[in-house]
Protein backbone atom coordinates (compact mmCIF):
# COMPACT_ATOMS: atom_id res chain seq x y z
CA UNK A 1 0.00 0.00 0.00
CA UNK A 2 2.82 2.36 0.86
CA UNK A 3 4.54 1.70 -2.44
CA UNK A 4 1.26 2.33 -4.20
CA UNK A 5 0.85 5.75 -2.56
CA UNK A 6 4.44 6.70 -3.33
CA UNK A 7 3.99 5.76 -6.96
CA UNK A 8 0.81 7.76 -7.27
CA UNK A 9 2.44 10.82 -5.71
CA UNK A 10 5.41 10.54 -8.05
CA UNK A 11 3.02 10.44 -10.99
CA UNK A 12 1.19 13.46 -9.64
CA UNK A 13 4.45 15.40 -9.43
CA UNK A 14 5.33 14.55 -13.02
CA UNK A 15 1.92 15.71 -14.21
CA UNK A 16 2.29 18.92 -12.22
CA UNK A 17 5.70 19.51 -13.81
CA UNK A 18 4.20 19.12 -17.28
CA UNK A 19 1.38 21.52 -16.43
CA UNK A 20 3.88 24.06 -15.14
CA UNK A 21 5.89 23.65 -18.30
CA UNK A 22 2.86 24.30 -20.48
CA UNK A 23 1.92 27.27 -18.31
CA UNK A 24 5.42 28.65 -18.54
CA UNK A 25 5.53 28.18 -22.31
CA UNK A 26 2.27 30.07 -22.67
CA UNK A 27 3.56 32.85 -20.49
CA UNK A 28 6.76 33.09 -22.52
CA UNK A 29 4.89 33.44 -25.78
CA UNK A 30 2.72 36.34 -24.64
CA UNK A 31 3.54 39.86 -23.74
CA UNK A 32 6.89 41.36 -22.94
CA UNK A 33 7.46 41.82 -19.22
CA UNK A 34 10.08 44.53 -19.93
CA UNK A 35 7.62 46.75 -21.75
CA UNK A 36 5.26 46.33 -18.87
CA UNK A 37 7.86 47.54 -16.40
CA UNK A 38 9.38 50.35 -18.43
CA UNK A 39 6.66 51.58 -20.75
CA UNK A 40 7.16 52.25 -24.45
CA UNK A 41 9.49 55.25 -24.19
CA UNK A 42 12.66 53.34 -23.31
CA UNK A 43 15.26 52.71 -26.01
CA UNK A 44 15.95 49.29 -27.42
CA UNK A 45 19.46 49.12 -25.97
CA UNK A 46 18.27 49.96 -22.51
CA UNK A 47 15.51 47.41 -22.79
CA UNK A 48 18.06 44.81 -23.75
CA UNK A 49 20.04 45.71 -20.63
CA UNK A 50 17.00 45.24 -18.44
CA UNK A 51 16.30 41.96 -20.19
CA UNK A 52 19.79 40.82 -19.28
CA UNK A 53 19.37 41.92 -15.69
CA UNK A 54 16.07 40.13 -15.36
CA UNK A 55 17.63 37.03 -16.88
CA UNK A 56 15.21 37.06 -19.79
CA UNK A 57 18.00 36.26 -22.23
CA UNK A 58 18.94 33.10 -20.38
CA UNK A 59 18.25 29.75 -22.04
CA UNK A 60 14.61 28.63 -21.91
CA UNK A 61 15.25 25.82 -19.49
CA UNK A 62 17.14 28.05 -17.07
CA UNK A 63 14.23 30.45 -17.05
CA UNK A 64 11.86 27.54 -16.53
CA UNK A 65 13.92 26.44 -13.57
CA UNK A 66 13.67 29.90 -12.11
CA UNK A 67 9.91 29.90 -12.75
CA UNK A 68 9.57 26.59 -10.93
CA UNK A 69 11.56 27.87 -7.99
CA UNK A 70 9.14 30.75 -7.72
CA UNK A 71 6.12 28.52 -8.21
CA UNK A 72 7.08 26.27 -5.33
CA UNK A 73 7.20 29.36 -3.11
CA UNK A 74 3.80 30.43 -4.39
CA UNK A 75 4.98 33.04 -6.88
CA UNK A 76 3.29 32.27 -10.18
CA UNK A 77 3.37 35.71 -11.70
CA UNK A 78 1.60 39.03 -11.37
CA UNK A 79 -1.76 39.89 -12.85
CA UNK A 80 -1.64 42.72 -15.41
CA UNK A 81 -5.06 43.90 -14.45
CA UNK A 82 -5.09 43.62 -10.67
CA UNK A 83 -1.47 44.71 -10.37
CA UNK A 84 -0.80 42.15 -7.68
CA UNK A 85 0.30 38.58 -7.21
CA UNK A 86 -1.83 36.30 -9.36
CA UNK A 87 -1.95 33.70 -6.62
CA UNK A 88 -3.39 36.26 -4.18
CA UNK A 89 -6.07 37.20 -6.70
CA UNK A 90 -7.00 33.55 -7.18
CA UNK A 91 -6.97 32.79 -3.46
CA UNK A 92 -9.30 35.71 -2.79
CA UNK A 93 -11.74 34.26 -5.35
CA UNK A 94 -11.35 30.62 -4.32
CA UNK A 95 -13.80 30.58 -1.36
CA UNK A 96 -16.70 31.59 -3.61
CA UNK A 97 -15.99 28.74 -6.04
CA UNK A 98 -15.35 26.20 -3.32
CA UNK A 99 -18.60 27.02 -1.52
CA UNK A 100 -20.47 26.64 -4.78
CA UNK A 101 -18.81 23.31 -5.57
CA UNK A 102 -19.42 22.03 -2.05
CA UNK A 103 -23.12 22.80 -2.20
CA UNK A 104 -23.50 21.22 -5.62
CA UNK A 105 -21.55 18.14 -4.63
CA UNK A 106 -23.83 17.79 -1.62
CA UNK A 107 -26.93 18.06 -3.79
CA UNK A 108 -25.51 15.48 -6.18
CA UNK A 109 -24.64 12.96 -3.47
CA UNK A 110 -27.92 13.38 -1.58
CA UNK A 111 -30.06 12.79 -4.64
CA UNK A 112 -28.02 10.53 -6.90
CA UNK A 113 -27.36 7.72 -4.41
CA UNK A 114 -30.97 6.91 -3.43
CA UNK A 115 -32.33 7.57 -6.91
CA UNK A 116 -29.60 5.53 -8.58
CA UNK A 117 -30.03 2.62 -6.20
CA UNK A 118 -33.79 2.66 -6.48
CA UNK A 119 -33.86 2.71 -10.25
CA UNK A 120 -31.33 -0.14 -10.30
CA UNK A 121 -33.26 -2.48 -8.02
CA UNK A 122 -36.65 -1.62 -9.49
CA UNK A 123 -35.79 -0.94 -13.13
CA UNK A 124 -39.32 -1.50 -14.31
CA UNK A 125 -41.12 0.64 -11.73
CA UNK A 126 -42.89 3.71 -12.99
CA UNK A 127 -40.84 6.00 -10.79
CA UNK A 128 -37.58 4.52 -12.11
CA UNK A 129 -38.66 5.06 -15.69
CA UNK A 130 -39.54 8.59 -14.77
CA UNK A 131 -36.14 9.13 -13.16
CA UNK A 132 -34.32 7.66 -16.15
CA UNK A 133 -36.35 9.70 -18.60
CA UNK A 134 -35.76 12.82 -16.57
CA UNK A 135 -32.06 12.12 -16.35
CA UNK A 136 -31.54 11.84 -20.09
CA UNK A 137 -33.33 15.15 -20.52
CA UNK A 138 -31.14 16.47 -17.71
CA UNK A 139 -27.86 15.54 -19.37
CA UNK A 140 -29.09 17.16 -22.58
CA UNK A 141 -29.61 20.61 -21.09
CA UNK A 142 -26.42 22.64 -20.92
CA UNK A 143 -25.61 24.09 -17.50
CA UNK A 144 -25.81 27.67 -18.68
CA UNK A 145 -29.25 27.11 -20.15
CA UNK A 146 -30.56 25.68 -16.88
CA UNK A 147 -29.10 28.74 -15.19
CA UNK A 148 -30.71 31.14 -17.63
CA UNK A 149 -34.04 29.38 -17.38
CA UNK A 150 -33.94 29.57 -13.60
CA UNK A 151 -33.03 33.24 -13.67
CA UNK A 152 -35.89 33.94 -16.04
CA UNK A 153 -38.44 32.06 -13.96
CA UNK A 154 -37.36 32.80 -10.40
CA UNK A 155 -35.76 36.22 -10.75
CA UNK A 156 -37.29 37.97 -13.73
CA UNK A 157 -40.83 36.62 -13.55
CA UNK A 158 -41.40 35.59 -9.94
CA UNK A 159 -38.85 37.84 -8.16
CA UNK A 160 -38.18 35.10 -5.64
CA UNK A 161 -34.44 34.82 -5.83
CA UNK A 162 -31.58 37.17 -6.68
CA UNK A 163 -30.11 36.66 -10.14
CA UNK A 164 -26.46 37.53 -9.66
CA UNK A 165 -23.62 37.89 -7.19
CA UNK A 166 -22.98 36.26 -3.84
CA UNK A 167 -25.03 38.60 -1.69
CA UNK A 168 -23.93 39.46 1.80
CA UNK A 169 -20.75 37.70 2.85
CA UNK A 170 -18.91 37.47 6.15
CA UNK A 171 -15.14 37.58 6.37
CA UNK A 172 -13.85 34.69 8.42
CA UNK A 173 -10.09 35.16 8.67
CA UNK A 174 -9.63 35.82 4.97
CA UNK A 175 -12.33 33.38 3.85
CA UNK A 176 -15.33 35.33 2.61
CA UNK A 177 -18.24 33.03 3.24
CA UNK A 178 -21.85 33.31 2.16
CA UNK A 179 -22.88 30.48 4.49
CA UNK A 180 -23.51 32.71 7.48
CA UNK A 181 -26.16 35.04 6.12
CA UNK A 182 -29.66 34.40 4.85
CA UNK A 183 -28.90 36.63 1.90
CA UNK A 184 -25.82 34.55 1.13
CA UNK A 185 -27.88 31.36 1.10
CA UNK A 186 -30.51 32.91 -1.15
CA UNK A 187 -27.83 33.80 -3.64
CA UNK A 188 -26.36 30.32 -3.42
CA UNK A 189 -29.54 28.37 -4.23
CA UNK A 190 -29.78 28.87 -7.97
CA UNK A 191 -26.08 28.65 -8.83
CA UNK A 192 -25.61 25.42 -6.91
CA UNK A 193 -28.70 23.83 -8.43
CA UNK A 194 -27.59 24.94 -11.89
CA UNK A 195 -24.10 23.55 -11.34
CA UNK A 196 -25.45 20.19 -10.15
CA UNK A 197 -28.08 20.03 -12.89
CA UNK A 198 -25.93 18.14 -15.37
CA UNK A 199 -23.83 16.08 -12.99
CA UNK A 200 -26.80 14.82 -11.00
CA UNK A 201 -28.38 12.92 -13.91
CA UNK A 202 -24.95 11.66 -14.94
CA UNK A 203 -24.36 10.25 -11.49
CA UNK A 204 -27.83 8.74 -11.26
CA UNK A 205 -27.21 6.95 -14.55
CA UNK A 206 -23.74 5.91 -13.50
CA UNK A 207 -24.84 4.51 -10.14
CA UNK A 208 -27.77 2.76 -11.74
CA UNK A 209 -25.81 1.06 -14.48
CA UNK A 210 -22.95 0.04 -12.18
CA UNK A 211 -25.39 -1.22 -9.57
CA UNK A 212 -27.36 -3.23 -12.13
CA UNK A 213 -24.16 -4.83 -13.27
CA UNK A 214 -23.19 -5.69 -9.71
CA UNK A 215 -26.64 -7.15 -9.05
CA UNK A 216 -25.99 -9.69 -11.81
CA UNK A 217 -23.08 -11.16 -9.88
CA UNK A 218 -23.13 -14.56 -8.26
CA UNK A 219 -22.28 -13.14 -4.86
CA UNK A 220 -25.54 -11.18 -4.88
CA UNK A 221 -27.50 -14.29 -5.69
CA UNK A 222 -25.57 -16.00 -2.93
CA UNK A 223 -26.45 -13.20 -0.52
CA UNK A 224 -30.12 -13.82 -1.33
CA UNK A 225 -29.57 -17.54 -0.87
CA UNK A 226 -28.20 -16.82 2.60
CA UNK A 227 -31.57 -15.31 3.46
CA UNK A 228 -30.31 -11.82 4.24
CA UNK A 229 -32.63 -8.84 4.56
CA UNK A 230 -33.17 -7.09 1.21
CA UNK A 231 -31.78 -3.86 2.62
CA UNK A 232 -28.57 -5.60 3.57
CA UNK A 233 -28.21 -7.25 0.18
CA UNK A 234 -28.71 -3.96 -1.63
CA UNK A 235 -26.72 -1.63 0.55
CA UNK A 236 -23.93 -3.75 2.03
CA UNK A 237 -23.45 -6.34 -0.71
CA UNK A 238 -24.39 -4.49 -3.88
CA UNK A 239 -23.85 -0.82 -3.23
CA UNK A 240 -20.47 -1.29 -1.58
CA UNK A 241 -19.26 -2.94 -4.76
CA UNK A 242 -20.84 -0.20 -6.84
CA UNK A 243 -18.90 2.38 -4.87
CA UNK A 244 -15.54 1.46 -6.40
CA UNK A 245 -16.28 2.38 -10.02
CA UNK A 246 -18.38 5.31 -8.87
CA UNK A 247 -15.47 6.75 -6.91
CA UNK A 248 -13.12 6.46 -9.88
CA UNK A 249 -15.52 8.08 -12.27
CA UNK A 250 -16.55 10.56 -9.60
CA UNK A 251 -12.98 11.79 -9.31
CA UNK A 252 -12.85 12.49 -13.01
CA UNK A 253 -16.22 14.20 -12.85
CA UNK A 254 -15.00 16.58 -10.17
CA UNK A 255 -12.73 18.01 -12.83
CA UNK A 256 -15.70 18.46 -15.11
CA UNK A 257 -17.50 20.18 -12.28
CA UNK A 258 -14.74 22.77 -11.90
CA UNK A 259 -14.99 23.37 -15.64
CA UNK A 260 -18.70 23.90 -15.24
CA UNK A 261 -18.11 26.46 -12.51
CA UNK A 262 -16.74 28.68 -15.28
CA UNK A 263 -20.13 28.53 -17.02
CA UNK A 264 -22.24 28.82 -13.90
CA UNK A 265 -20.21 31.67 -12.49
CA UNK A 266 -20.40 33.54 -15.77
CA UNK A 267 -24.18 33.36 -15.84
CA UNK A 268 -24.65 34.37 -12.22
CA UNK A 269 -21.67 36.76 -12.12
CA UNK A 270 -20.55 34.73 -9.15
CA UNK A 271 -17.29 36.27 -7.97
CA UNK A 272 -15.30 33.06 -8.06
CA UNK A 273 -12.27 31.72 -9.90
CA UNK A 274 -14.21 30.75 -13.03
CA UNK A 275 -15.68 34.20 -13.51
CA UNK A 276 -12.25 35.67 -12.85
CA UNK A 277 -10.76 33.40 -15.51
CA UNK A 278 -13.23 34.49 -18.19
CA UNK A 279 -12.58 38.12 -17.26
CA UNK A 280 -8.84 37.47 -17.50
CA UNK A 281 -9.34 36.00 -20.98
CA UNK A 282 -11.37 39.00 -22.08
CA UNK A 283 -8.76 41.39 -20.69
CA UNK A 284 -5.87 39.43 -22.14
CA UNK A 285 -4.43 39.01 -18.66
CA UNK A 286 -2.08 36.15 -19.58
CA UNK A 287 -0.28 35.77 -16.22
CA UNK A 288 -3.59 35.40 -14.43
CA UNK A 289 -4.75 32.84 -17.02
CA UNK A 290 -1.59 30.85 -16.54
CA UNK A 291 -1.90 31.11 -12.78
CA UNK A 292 -5.47 29.79 -13.00
CA UNK A 293 -4.27 26.93 -15.19
CA UNK A 294 -1.69 25.98 -12.61
CA UNK A 295 -3.99 26.27 -9.60
CA UNK A 296 -6.78 24.31 -11.25
CA UNK A 297 -4.21 21.80 -12.50
CA UNK A 298 -3.01 21.37 -8.94
CA UNK A 299 -6.57 20.88 -7.69
CA UNK A 300 -7.21 18.21 -10.33
CA UNK A 301 -3.99 16.39 -9.65
CA UNK A 302 -4.52 16.43 -5.89
CA UNK A 303 -8.14 15.29 -6.18
CA UNK A 304 -7.31 12.50 -8.59
CA UNK A 305 -4.44 11.30 -6.46
CA UNK A 306 -6.61 11.34 -3.34
CA UNK A 307 -9.38 9.49 -5.20
CA UNK A 308 -6.92 6.83 -6.30
CA UNK A 309 -5.67 6.41 -2.78
CA UNK A 310 -9.22 6.21 -1.41
CA UNK A 311 -9.97 3.66 -4.10
CA UNK A 312 -7.06 1.70 -2.81
CA UNK A 313 -8.40 1.92 0.72
CA UNK A 314 -11.90 0.79 -0.20
CA UNK A 315 -10.75 -1.98 -2.48
CA UNK A 316 -9.14 -4.69 -0.37
CA UNK A 317 -7.39 -6.14 -3.39
CA UNK A 318 -5.38 -2.98 -3.94
CA UNK A 319 -4.78 -2.56 -0.26
CA UNK A 320 -2.99 -5.84 0.09
CA UNK A 321 -1.08 -6.24 -3.12
CA UNK A 322 -0.39 -2.57 -3.63
CA UNK A 323 -1.40 -2.47 -7.24
CA UNK A 324 -4.44 -2.00 -9.35
Amino acid sequence: MFAFIVRRIAQAIIVMLIISFIGFAIKQSFGDPVREITGVSVSAAEREKIRDELGLNDPFMVQFGRFMQGAVKGDIGRSFFYKKSALDVILSKAPATLELVMCSALIIVIFSVPLGIYSAIRPKALFSRFVMGGSIVGVSIPVFLTAILMIYVFSVELHWLPSYGRGETVNLGGWRTGFLTLDGWEHLIMPSIALSSIMLPLFIRLIRSEMMEVLENDYIKYAWAKGLMPKRVWIVHAFKNTLLPVITVGGVQLGTMIAFTILTETVFQWQGMGFMFIEAVERGDAPLMVAYLMVVGLIFVVVNTVVDVIYGLVNPQVRITGQK
Binding site: I136, V137, V139, F144, V156, T256, I258, V281
Partner: protein, 308 residues
Amino acid sequence: MKTRSRWQRFKESYFLHDFLHDKVALTSFCILAVLLFMGFAAPLVAPFNPYDAHNIDIMNAEIPPSWLPGGDTTFLLGTDAQGRDLFSTMLYGMRVSLIIGIGAVCLQAFLGIMVGLVAGFMGKRVESILMRVADVQLSFSTYMVAIFISAIFQAMFGVAKYEEIAVPLLILVIGFAEWPQYARTVRASVLAEKKKEYVEAAKVIGLSQKRIMWRHVLPNTLSPVFVISTIQVANAIMSEAALSFVGLGMPVTQPSLGSLINVGFEYIFSGSWWITMFPGIVLVLLILVINLLGDWLRDFLNPKLYKG
Protein backbone atom coordinates in the same frame (compact mmCIF):
# COMPACT_ATOMS: atom_id res chain seq x y z
CA MET B 1 -29.23 -19.32 -55.17
CA LYS B 2 -28.51 -15.67 -55.66
CA THR B 3 -27.34 -13.90 -52.58
CA ARG B 4 -29.69 -11.22 -51.45
CA SER B 5 -28.69 -7.64 -51.81
CA ARG B 6 -27.25 -5.75 -48.90
CA TRP B 7 -30.39 -3.65 -48.63
CA GLN B 8 -32.60 -6.71 -48.47
CA ARG B 9 -30.53 -8.21 -45.76
CA PHE B 10 -30.67 -4.93 -43.87
CA LYS B 11 -34.43 -4.80 -44.23
CA GLU B 12 -34.78 -8.19 -42.61
CA SER B 13 -32.27 -7.57 -39.86
CA TYR B 14 -33.02 -7.33 -36.18
CA PHE B 15 -31.51 -3.89 -36.27
CA LEU B 16 -34.26 -2.41 -38.37
CA HIS B 17 -36.97 -4.45 -36.70
CA ASP B 18 -35.93 -3.36 -33.24
CA PHE B 19 -35.54 0.21 -34.38
CA LEU B 20 -39.00 0.40 -35.96
CA HIS B 21 -40.57 -1.04 -32.83
CA ASP B 22 -38.94 1.41 -30.49
CA LYS B 23 -41.11 4.48 -30.46
CA VAL B 24 -38.56 6.66 -28.69
CA ALA B 25 -35.78 5.77 -31.12
CA LEU B 26 -38.01 6.22 -34.13
CA THR B 27 -39.35 9.59 -33.00
CA SER B 28 -35.85 10.76 -32.12
CA PHE B 29 -34.60 9.71 -35.50
CA CYS B 30 -37.37 11.59 -37.28
CA ILE B 31 -36.78 14.76 -35.28
CA LEU B 32 -33.05 14.49 -35.85
CA ALA B 33 -33.58 14.03 -39.56
CA VAL B 34 -35.76 17.14 -39.70
CA LEU B 35 -33.24 19.16 -37.68
CA LEU B 36 -30.34 17.97 -39.82
CA PHE B 37 -32.19 18.83 -42.98
CA MET B 38 -33.25 22.25 -41.74
CA GLY B 39 -29.74 22.94 -40.53
CA PHE B 40 -27.82 21.95 -43.62
CA ALA B 41 -30.43 23.36 -45.98
CA ALA B 42 -30.65 26.60 -44.00
CA PRO B 43 -29.87 28.86 -46.99
CA LEU B 44 -32.79 27.26 -48.85
CA VAL B 45 -35.24 26.90 -46.01
CA ALA B 46 -34.71 30.10 -44.05
CA PRO B 47 -36.91 33.05 -45.02
CA PHE B 48 -34.06 35.53 -44.51
CA ASN B 49 -30.31 35.46 -44.78
CA PRO B 50 -29.01 36.73 -41.44
CA TYR B 51 -25.50 37.23 -42.88
CA ASP B 52 -26.84 39.69 -45.41
CA ALA B 53 -26.79 43.23 -44.02
CA HIS B 54 -29.54 44.34 -46.43
CA ASN B 55 -32.05 42.20 -44.64
CA ILE B 56 -31.25 43.61 -41.26
CA ASP B 57 -32.99 46.66 -39.92
CA ILE B 58 -32.18 47.66 -36.37
CA MET B 59 -35.69 49.11 -36.14
CA ASN B 60 -36.93 45.53 -36.17
CA ALA B 61 -34.96 44.61 -33.05
CA GLU B 62 -36.59 42.59 -30.28
CA ILE B 63 -39.91 41.96 -31.99
CA PRO B 64 -41.68 39.21 -30.05
CA PRO B 65 -42.86 35.96 -31.70
CA SER B 66 -45.73 36.47 -34.16
CA TRP B 67 -48.45 35.07 -31.88
CA LEU B 68 -47.70 37.51 -29.06
CA PRO B 69 -49.00 41.10 -28.88
CA GLY B 70 -46.59 43.29 -30.81
CA GLY B 71 -45.54 40.34 -32.95
CA ASP B 72 -45.10 40.62 -36.70
CA THR B 73 -46.13 37.80 -39.03
CA THR B 74 -43.03 38.39 -41.17
CA PHE B 75 -40.90 37.19 -38.27
CA LEU B 76 -42.38 33.90 -37.12
CA LEU B 77 -40.35 33.56 -33.93
CA GLY B 78 -39.61 37.27 -33.53
CA THR B 79 -36.29 39.00 -34.01
CA ASP B 80 -33.08 39.26 -32.05
CA ALA B 81 -31.38 42.32 -30.61
CA GLN B 82 -29.94 43.29 -33.99
CA GLY B 83 -33.24 43.00 -35.83
CA ARG B 84 -32.48 39.67 -37.52
CA ASP B 85 -35.27 37.16 -38.04
CA LEU B 86 -34.78 34.73 -35.17
CA PHE B 87 -36.02 31.67 -37.05
CA SER B 88 -33.55 32.19 -39.90
CA THR B 89 -30.70 33.06 -37.57
CA MET B 90 -31.41 29.94 -35.58
CA LEU B 91 -31.33 27.71 -38.65
CA TYR B 92 -28.00 29.17 -39.70
CA GLY B 93 -26.81 28.86 -36.12
CA MET B 94 -27.80 25.21 -36.00
CA ARG B 95 -25.86 24.66 -39.20
CA VAL B 96 -22.74 26.09 -37.60
CA SER B 97 -23.27 23.98 -34.47
CA LEU B 98 -23.76 20.83 -36.53
CA ILE B 99 -20.73 21.43 -38.71
CA ILE B 100 -18.52 22.00 -35.71
CA GLY B 101 -20.02 19.07 -33.80
CA ILE B 102 -19.64 16.56 -36.60
CA GLY B 103 -16.27 17.92 -37.71
CA ALA B 104 -14.92 17.71 -34.18
CA VAL B 105 -16.13 14.13 -33.77
CA CYS B 106 -14.46 13.10 -37.03
CA LEU B 107 -11.21 14.54 -35.76
CA GLN B 108 -11.60 12.95 -32.34
CA ALA B 109 -12.38 9.60 -33.87
CA PHE B 110 -9.40 9.82 -36.20
CA LEU B 111 -6.95 10.77 -33.45
CA GLY B 112 -8.46 8.39 -30.93
CA ILE B 113 -8.61 5.37 -33.22
CA MET B 114 -5.01 5.91 -34.29
CA VAL B 115 -3.75 6.20 -30.74
CA GLY B 116 -5.95 3.35 -29.54
CA LEU B 117 -4.81 1.01 -32.31
CA VAL B 118 -1.16 1.84 -31.87
CA ALA B 119 -1.41 1.48 -28.10
CA GLY B 120 -3.33 -1.78 -28.34
CA PHE B 121 -0.93 -3.25 -30.86
CA MET B 122 2.43 -2.02 -29.69
CA GLY B 123 1.75 -2.83 -26.04
CA LYS B 124 4.34 -2.35 -23.34
CA ARG B 125 6.00 1.05 -23.02
CA VAL B 126 4.21 2.84 -25.85
CA GLU B 127 0.88 1.65 -24.60
CA SER B 128 1.43 2.65 -21.01
CA ILE B 129 2.67 6.11 -21.97
CA LEU B 130 -0.15 6.80 -24.44
CA MET B 131 -2.80 5.57 -22.08
CA ARG B 132 -1.35 7.49 -19.17
CA VAL B 133 -1.53 10.66 -21.30
CA ALA B 134 -5.12 9.87 -22.20
CA ASP B 135 -5.97 9.24 -18.54
CA VAL B 136 -4.40 12.47 -17.41
CA GLN B 137 -6.06 14.51 -20.12
CA LEU B 138 -9.37 12.88 -19.35
CA SER B 139 -9.00 13.60 -15.66
CA PHE B 140 -8.78 17.26 -16.54
CA SER B 141 -12.20 17.06 -18.08
CA THR B 142 -12.66 17.72 -21.75
CA TYR B 143 -14.46 21.01 -21.11
CA MET B 144 -11.54 22.37 -19.15
CA VAL B 145 -9.07 21.39 -21.84
CA ALA B 146 -11.25 22.91 -24.55
CA ILE B 147 -11.72 26.13 -22.62
CA PHE B 148 -7.99 26.44 -21.97
CA ILE B 149 -6.92 25.75 -25.51
CA SER B 150 -9.41 28.17 -26.97
CA ALA B 151 -8.52 30.81 -24.38
CA ILE B 152 -4.87 30.47 -25.37
CA PHE B 153 -5.73 30.62 -29.06
CA GLN B 154 -7.80 33.70 -28.52
CA ALA B 155 -5.00 35.39 -26.61
CA MET B 156 -2.54 34.35 -29.32
CA PHE B 157 -4.51 35.41 -32.38
CA GLY B 158 -6.43 38.32 -30.91
CA VAL B 159 -10.22 38.40 -30.87
CA ALA B 160 -10.70 39.66 -34.45
CA LYS B 161 -8.50 37.05 -36.08
CA TYR B 162 -9.87 34.34 -33.81
CA GLU B 163 -13.40 35.06 -34.94
CA GLU B 164 -12.38 34.82 -38.56
CA ILE B 165 -11.09 31.28 -38.25
CA ALA B 166 -13.45 30.26 -35.46
CA VAL B 167 -15.04 27.26 -37.20
CA PRO B 168 -11.90 25.24 -38.03
CA LEU B 169 -10.36 26.34 -34.76
CA LEU B 170 -13.29 25.08 -32.70
CA ILE B 171 -13.24 21.79 -34.59
CA LEU B 172 -9.57 21.50 -33.72
CA VAL B 173 -10.07 22.45 -30.08
CA ILE B 174 -13.01 20.15 -29.40
CA GLY B 175 -11.50 17.41 -31.51
CA PHE B 176 -8.30 17.52 -29.56
CA ALA B 177 -10.03 17.78 -26.19
CA GLU B 178 -12.02 14.56 -26.56
CA TRP B 179 -9.77 12.05 -28.32
CA PRO B 180 -8.98 10.06 -25.16
CA GLN B 181 -12.54 8.66 -25.08
CA TYR B 182 -11.96 7.01 -28.43
CA ALA B 183 -8.43 5.96 -27.67
CA ARG B 184 -9.51 4.11 -24.54
CA THR B 185 -12.47 2.47 -26.19
CA VAL B 186 -10.51 1.35 -29.22
CA ARG B 187 -7.60 0.09 -27.16
CA ALA B 188 -9.92 -1.90 -24.92
CA SER B 189 -11.54 -3.61 -27.86
CA VAL B 190 -8.22 -4.17 -29.63
CA LEU B 191 -6.96 -5.93 -26.52
CA ALA B 192 -10.12 -8.01 -26.41
CA GLU B 193 -9.87 -8.84 -30.11
CA LYS B 194 -6.17 -9.66 -29.92
CA LYS B 195 -6.91 -12.49 -27.52
CA LYS B 196 -9.31 -14.08 -29.96
CA GLU B 197 -8.30 -17.03 -32.06
CA TYR B 198 -8.75 -15.48 -35.46
CA VAL B 199 -5.94 -13.01 -34.81
CA GLU B 200 -3.76 -15.89 -33.69
CA ALA B 201 -4.73 -17.72 -36.86
CA ALA B 202 -3.98 -14.69 -39.04
CA LYS B 203 -0.53 -14.50 -37.48
CA VAL B 204 0.07 -18.17 -38.05
CA ILE B 205 -0.72 -17.95 -41.75
CA GLY B 206 1.81 -15.14 -41.92
CA LEU B 207 -0.24 -11.99 -42.44
CA SER B 208 1.60 -8.84 -41.60
CA GLN B 209 0.89 -6.92 -38.41
CA LYS B 210 -0.42 -4.02 -40.44
CA ARG B 211 -2.82 -6.12 -42.39
CA ILE B 212 -4.13 -7.83 -39.27
CA MET B 213 -4.59 -4.47 -37.65
CA TRP B 214 -6.44 -2.80 -40.50
CA ARG B 215 -8.35 -5.61 -42.08
CA HIS B 216 -9.13 -7.82 -39.12
CA VAL B 217 -9.03 -6.01 -35.83
CA LEU B 218 -10.21 -2.54 -36.77
CA PRO B 219 -13.56 -3.64 -38.23
CA ASN B 220 -14.29 -5.50 -35.03
CA THR B 221 -13.71 -2.47 -32.87
CA LEU B 222 -16.14 -0.35 -34.82
CA SER B 223 -19.31 -1.17 -32.97
CA PRO B 224 -18.25 0.52 -29.71
CA VAL B 225 -16.80 3.38 -31.76
CA PHE B 226 -20.13 3.76 -33.47
CA VAL B 227 -21.94 3.87 -30.15
CA ILE B 228 -19.72 6.48 -28.53
CA SER B 229 -19.74 8.55 -31.71
CA THR B 230 -23.41 9.40 -31.34
CA ILE B 231 -22.94 10.50 -27.76
CA GLN B 232 -19.77 12.32 -28.72
CA VAL B 233 -21.59 14.39 -31.35
CA ALA B 234 -24.02 15.51 -28.67
CA ASN B 235 -21.10 16.28 -26.37
CA ALA B 236 -19.25 18.21 -29.06
CA ILE B 237 -22.30 20.32 -29.83
CA MET B 238 -22.69 20.96 -26.14
CA SER B 239 -19.00 21.89 -25.79
CA GLU B 240 -19.24 24.27 -28.71
CA ALA B 241 -22.30 25.90 -27.16
CA ALA B 242 -20.50 26.23 -23.84
CA LEU B 243 -17.42 27.77 -25.45
CA SER B 244 -19.56 30.17 -27.44
CA PHE B 245 -21.50 31.03 -24.34
CA VAL B 246 -18.42 32.21 -22.45
CA GLY B 247 -17.28 34.12 -25.51
CA LEU B 248 -14.61 31.67 -26.67
CA GLY B 249 -16.55 30.30 -29.58
CA MET B 250 -18.49 31.65 -32.51
CA PRO B 251 -18.85 35.44 -32.85
CA VAL B 252 -22.22 37.19 -32.97
CA THR B 253 -21.77 37.95 -36.66
CA GLN B 254 -21.66 34.25 -37.47
CA PRO B 255 -23.58 32.86 -34.53
CA SER B 256 -23.98 29.26 -33.45
CA LEU B 257 -26.78 28.21 -31.13
CA GLY B 258 -24.50 28.80 -28.16
CA SER B 259 -23.58 32.34 -29.11
CA LEU B 260 -27.24 33.14 -29.82
CA ILE B 261 -28.08 32.03 -26.30
CA ASN B 262 -25.19 34.12 -25.03
CA VAL B 263 -26.26 37.34 -26.75
CA GLY B 264 -29.88 36.76 -25.89
CA PHE B 265 -29.11 36.26 -22.22
CA GLU B 266 -28.89 39.93 -21.31
CA TYR B 267 -32.25 40.61 -22.93
CA ILE B 268 -34.22 38.26 -20.71
CA PHE B 269 -34.02 40.90 -17.99
CA SER B 270 -35.97 43.26 -20.22
CA GLY B 271 -38.46 40.49 -20.94
CA SER B 272 -37.26 39.47 -24.42
CA TRP B 273 -37.04 35.83 -23.44
CA TRP B 274 -37.44 34.46 -26.95
CA ILE B 275 -33.98 35.49 -28.13
CA THR B 276 -32.46 33.03 -25.66
CA MET B 277 -35.22 30.48 -25.27
CA PHE B 278 -35.81 29.45 -28.88
CA PRO B 279 -32.15 28.70 -29.64
CA GLY B 280 -32.02 27.05 -26.22
CA ILE B 281 -34.96 24.79 -27.02
CA VAL B 282 -33.48 23.82 -30.37
CA LEU B 283 -30.12 23.09 -28.77
CA VAL B 284 -31.67 20.90 -26.09
CA LEU B 285 -33.85 19.11 -28.62
CA LEU B 286 -30.87 18.43 -30.86
CA ILE B 287 -28.74 17.08 -28.03
CA LEU B 288 -31.63 15.13 -26.52
CA VAL B 289 -32.56 13.25 -29.69
CA ILE B 290 -28.93 12.38 -30.36
CA ASN B 291 -28.55 11.14 -26.78
CA LEU B 292 -31.74 9.08 -27.03
CA LEU B 293 -30.57 7.52 -30.28
CA GLY B 294 -27.19 6.84 -28.73
CA ASP B 295 -28.86 5.17 -25.77
CA TRP B 296 -30.90 2.96 -28.01
CA LEU B 297 -27.87 2.08 -30.08
CA ARG B 298 -25.91 1.20 -26.98
CA ASP B 299 -28.67 -1.01 -25.65
CA PHE B 300 -29.00 -2.67 -29.00
CA LEU B 301 -25.36 -3.29 -29.88
CA ASN B 302 -24.38 -3.64 -26.22
CA PRO B 303 -20.65 -3.50 -26.78
CA LYS B 304 -18.30 -3.74 -23.85
CA LEU B 305 -17.49 -0.08 -23.40
CA TYR B 306 -14.42 0.94 -21.51
CA LYS B 307 -15.57 2.47 -18.30
CA GLY B 308 -14.05 4.88 -15.86
